[in-house]
Structures are given as C-alpha cells and as structure tokens.
C-alpha cells in the first residue's frame, strides 16, 4: 500500500539527497517515533535484488529529521551510483513501526544519467 510514481533522475556518481515526506492514511504526518525507515535501489529488470540499501537504523544513509512530522532524508554518496546508468532502476521506501510491522510507503522509477565528468 504505497504511493507510486515517486520518480526522480540523477547523475551517476553524484551526491544526492532524497527529501521525503511520509504521511499516514489520513493524510497527516506519519509518526516515525521508534520506527525504522529503509530505502532500496534496484534494477527495474530485477526489482527483488537491491543494488543499494540505506536504513535509519544506526543512521546508515537515512536521517529521520523530524519523527513526528514524518520527514526523512536519504543520502546517496557518489560511490553508491558511480557504476550505474544505462538501464532503468526503481526505488522504494519502507517503514518498520515500533511493533515490527513493515509497510512499503512509496515506490518510483529512477533514471540514472551517465556523465563524462566523474
């Protein structure tokens, strides 16, 4: 049960921040207190095999900037994507609540553009 088509494009090997607002089913902020947020990037040809993963657990690439307002920043470092490009990718975000239930909250396509200057 997720918001789809949260698409974005980026340059391969760039530092990128994904600024994400998470909402509950009433449209209000999703309370992320005691929750864990996970993000994954995978090839659209094989979405089940994550190429890059980030998690807020231990602040490994995801920072919950305001838990009560459901605000999250996913940080991609240049090493994460420097070898990517030339095929379609997909990304998704899931939230594991304090009770351990996991919900996928957004999915989308990612276009990674190759550049000459890396």
């Amino acid at each position: 049960m997720a918001i789809k088509n949260q698409n974005f494009e980026m340059y391969a090997g760039n530092d990128v921040e994904l600024d994400i607002t998470l909402l509950d089913e009433d449209g209000g902020p999703l309370d992320l207190t005691d929750a864990t947020v996970r993000w994954a990037l995978s090839s659209a040809y094989d979405p089940s095999a994550a190429l890059v993963t980030k998690t807020s657990d231990g602040m490994s690439g995801i920072l919950i900037t305001d838990a009560e307002q459901g605000l999250v920043i996913v940080t991609l470092l240049r090493d994460d994507t420097e070898d990517f490009g030339g095929q379609p990718y997909v990304h998704e975000v899931a939230v594991i609540d304090s009770g351990g239930a996991e919900t996928t909250v957004l999915t989308g396509a990612v276009t990674i553009l190759k550049t000459a200057l890396q």
Partner: protein, 136 residues
Amino acid sequence: MINLDVTGVRRLWRIVSPGTPQPETDEEALHALHLARTKARFVPAKYREYSQAWLDERERKIVAHAVGVAVGMESTKYIEANMEMAFEMSEAVATAHKDGVPLKEDAVEVTRRMRLVRAALKAKRAAVRGFRLHGN
C-alpha cells in the same frame, strides 16, 4: 558567459587575471560560469534561472522530493479496499504534482487533496453498503 564558453573563459582568465587561482578543470570553469551568470545583471532571466537550477542540483545535492503514505492493512479482509485507497491517494498526489503543487513546500495542499479522495472513497463504500437489502 551567455554561451557557457568554457575554453574561452579559461583562456580569458589566464590573460586577465594571471595572478589569481585558475580553474584547474573544465568542470571548475563551468561551475564558475554558472555562478557568474546568476550574479550578472545583464544575463537574461532565463539563463540566470537555468544556471541557478544547475547550481542547486550540484551544490544543495537535493534533486528530488517524494511523498510516501502508509495505508494500514490490519487484516487480509481489507487488502482490496486498502489497495483502492492507496491507488486513489497516489492519484491525488500525482494530480497535485501535475497541477504544480510543490510536494515539500505545500504539503498541506497535498494532504488536503488526499483527504478529499479518502473521504470520497469512504462515502462511496458507505453508499454501496446502503443498498444492501435487509435480511441479506
């Protein structure tokens, strides 16, 4: 500057300001050109805006805003209803985006639209239930 002439600006830089630090790469020179275009008053607005966007993309490192929604799924009984709810709310966000509503800066408007479709969907379900005959 208007044409973002990297080679030209590097040559000019060496001639006009030989004593100042020179851009070491074409990328550095291009960055300097975009920065200059955002400051120079004679540069037409459309070029200034393009350069500002170029710089924003690289300097602030934020290229995307996204919205996620957690639609509860307490029981498998409600899977279909929740999928419909998630679809309608996705459509509301997509429509808001198409209408030019900034997803981050105007989350209130996005939320308002999501609540509208949610209310409409709930009303529709209530209406459907209302047709159920007594005794069935």
